[in-house]
């Protein structure tokens, strides 16, 4: 049934449809509408789950580590400072191979206080062993949240479903909310492979000396690789039962493009319009949207980008001292090509600054006119800055 929903409500609808059994969360703007909606669902019994209103994000994830280890389907949601506080336990959840699903609303990190969108919070967690999926629309948020449970439980890794603050979390769009029966066919109830059980006592997450630790870590790497392999299977099942498909990446007009923009999140929607406009002027431009960031779909990215001359990667994030994070990863993915396209990195839209068609126009012009691709990212629309060391 089509409903007009906020991105946050789309997350909550998916959690209800996934029949989550334990939710644990701590409020932070702009994640609050997710947990408020879930509280409503729990209160009116449309979602018969236990909701733990814990005293911090750290405890929110710790509680789910306990619940998931006891064999039930679990969910949390957070953002920015909350995600940073969870950092220790992000590693724990993946190391313990727990299929926890989290909605993470991309928000800028302090200081200064800024509640608006920025990807540095989630990308700073890229090495924690969580599958990361970046969303563009309310519909994609709902669908991806359902897919996240399928993936998590298939490969026993936690999954982050990531959506932009306000541009997605607080924006109303028409969203198709599927029937429970269709969702149940796509996502059967959770059957844990290991769990705490007094009939079959075992120790979980105990001391692992050098003789075994490395193999345990390798199994996480294997699970990540498996997630990439089963992604099409998951999407096939989703398409069969629910009729939509996104792909780990989406290529738009890339086949004959000389110049390809690479985006993630809601900037993609603006870029779609931009590409249409340029194509109508006869310019050979394409767009590659990256949805799956961990595991990184390097091969798919390479195939779509290999025949272009110039690539412009837009990063709403920064790894200080290295530059935009998507740009780094895409350069690495293109490295095996004998003749790699030039990759131009751009940092734009940090802390919720709008990335408009004009910004994309400037990025397009700089990429088109650039003699060579610089190693550092170009910050678009920057006002004059002096740094503290001067």
């Amino acid at each position: 049934m089509k409903k007009v929903l906020e991105g946050s409500q789309a997350v909550a609808e998916a959690v209800r449809l996934a029949r989550v059994e334990v939710i644990s969360a701590y409020p932070i703007t702009p994640q609050t509408h997710i947990v408020e909606k879930l509280s409503d669902f729990c209160a009116d019994d449309s979602l018969p789950a236990r909701f733990l209103r814990v005293e911090s994000e750290h405890s929110a994830l710790a509680a789910l580590i306990g619940a998931s280890s006891t064999g039930v389907r679990t969910f949390t949601a957070t953002s920015s400072q909350g995600l940073a506080l969870m950092h220790e336990l992000l590693h724990w959840a993946s190391g313990a191979r727990l299929p926890i699903v989290m909605a993470e609303v991309n928000r800028a990190l302090a200081p200064g206080w800024n509640i608006w969108t920025d990807q540095t919070d989630s990308l700073a967690q890229r090495d924690t062993g969580w599958i990361q999926l970046y969303c563009e629309t309310g519909q994609e948020v709902l669908d991806t949240t359902l897919q996240a449970f399928w993936l998590a439980e298939k490969v026993n890794l936690p999954v982050m479903v990531i959506l932009d603050a306000f541009f997605l979390s607080h924006t109303y769009e028409p969203v198709d909310v599927p029937d429970q029966e269709a969702v149940d066919r796509f996502l059967p109830s959770f059957r844990p492979k290991v769990q705490l059980d007094t009939q079959n006592p075992c120790s979980l997450s105990q001391m692992a000396p050098p003789g075994i630790y490395m193999e345990m870590r390798y199994s996480i790497q294997m699970a990540m690789e498996e997630a990439l392999t089963v992604f099409p299977e998951m999407e096939g099942a989703f398409q069969n039962h629910l009729g939509r498909r996104y792909g780990p990446v989406e290529a738009l007009e890339c086949k004959d493009a000389d110049l390809i923009l690479v985006t993630s999140g809601t900037i993609t929607s603006t870029a779609r319009q931009f590409i249409r406009d340029l194509r109508s002027q006869g310019k050979k431009v394409g767009l590659l949207k990256v949805k799956l960031f961990r595991p990184f779909p390097a091969e798919a990215i390479r195939e779509h980008l290999r025949s272009a001359q110039r690539i412009a990667v837009i990063d709403r994030n920064c790894s200080f001292g290295a530059g935009g994070i998507f740009a780094q990863e895409i350069r690495a993915a293109l490295c095996p090509l004998p003749e790699s396209p030039m990759v131009f990195g751009y940092i734009a839209g940090l802390g919720g600054r709008d990335v408009t068609l004009n910004v994309l126009e400037e990025i397009y012009r700089l990429t088109q006119d650039g003699d060579y691709a610089r190693e550092e990212s170009h910050w678009v629309g920057l006002r004059e800055v002096s740094h503290a060391g001067k």
Binding site: E21, V22, S24, A49, R50, L52, R53, V54, E55, S56, H58, S59, A60, A62, A63, L64, I65, G66, A67, S68, S69, T70, G71, V72, T74, E88, L89, W92, L196, D197, T198, N200, P201, C202, S203, L204, S205, Q206, M207, A208, P209, I212
Partner: protein, 294 residues
């Protein structure tokens, strides 16, 4: 099944506790009293090591090891999952040291108790970070040497009163007990088992390695802690009703202090001052107990 429940064993040889480890004695009796329908949450502490390394375990019940500060939160999640599955029979037990309880785990414990999560939290208290090599915690008593309070910089602050902090939460059941009084320990664990909501047991667990004490004096020193009123044995129900379970004869604290290397730098004047502090604390406890009976 042995006829006497105290004959059953859920802790086995092969554990790697030090000789005379009070925490090992505490574990043995607590598990006997709780029985097999128990799931243990084990945040970082000496017992993270004592239980043994993968793929072995000295414990015969399901155990989830967890991050240092998460004892209250992980247990909340285990309990919630058991409730969802309709299992009200299994007891959730958090087993934490004093660092994981008084210090880094205090927030998660306070949160869990405020929510009145249905679980038992045991703090086995050896009065410092023993697993990392005897560093000071907020449970370390006034006067003690540790590796981070060396020489003349011995600890000049009082030990945090963790039971009173939890009583302030109106916790349904909080009690102190000692490895030197196994009947009292088992009685309190069994009593706690049948109370709903949050339950806290503070077990005095001597540490010969960290206290500079011959291992054969481990139980004796725990008994002396009670007999000197340094560690009174009492229980508090619903955050209001105090019962003192052992009325000591008030032996002098210096007898307790002089057996332990961690206190050997203290002068007679220091010991006199500590005696006064112990007397004051005991008087305060007596007043609370009489207040709750009136």
């Amino acid at each position: 099944m042995p006829e006497n429940e105290l004959d059953r064993e859920y802790m086995f040889s092969g554990h790697v506790g030090c000789p005379g480890c009070g925490a090992a004695i505490a574990m043995k009796f607590v598990l006997k009293a709780l029985g097999e329908k128990t799931i243990m949450v084990l945040p970082a502490c000496c017992w993270s090591i004592i239980a043994g390394a993968y793929p072995q375990s000295a414990l015969g019940i399901p155990v989830i090891h967890s991050a240092f500060e998460t004892g209250g939160a992980v247990a909340s999640g285990v309990r919630a999952a058991l409730d969802v599955k309709g299992d009200s029979e299994t007891t959730v037990l958090t087993w934490a040291g004093d660092g994981g309880t008084f210090d880094i785990g205090f927030q998660a414990l306070s949160g869990a108790v405020e929510r009145n999560e249905d679980f038992i939290y045991v703090c086995y208290d050896n009065e410092a970070y023993m697993n990392t090599g005897v560093q000071r915690s907020s449970s370390t008593p006034y006067g003690a040497w540790t590796t981070t309070t060396p020489g003349s910089d011995w600890k000049k602050m009082r030990k945090k009163n963790i039971v009173e902090a939890l009583v302030a939460h109106r916790i349904p059941y909080a009690a102190t007990t000692s490895i030197a009084y196994p009947e009292d320990l088992v009685y309190k664990v069994k009593k706690a088992k049948w109370i709903k909501g949050s339950r806290f047991l503070h077990i005095f667990s001597s540490c010969p390695t960290g206290w500079g004490l011959p291992s054969e004096l481990s139980v004796k020193i725990a008994r002396m802690a009670v007999q000197t009123n340094i560690f009174p044995i009492y229980e508090v129900e619903d955050g209001l009703h105090y019962t003192i379970n052992f009325m000591s004869k008030g032996y002098l604290v210096k007898e307790y202090f002089k057996l332990q290397g961690r206190f050997k730098h203290l002068t007679e004047a220091d010991l006199d001052q500590i005696q006064e502090m112990v007397n004051d604390d005991w008087e305060l406890l007596l007043r609370k107990a009489s207040l709750s009976q009136s």
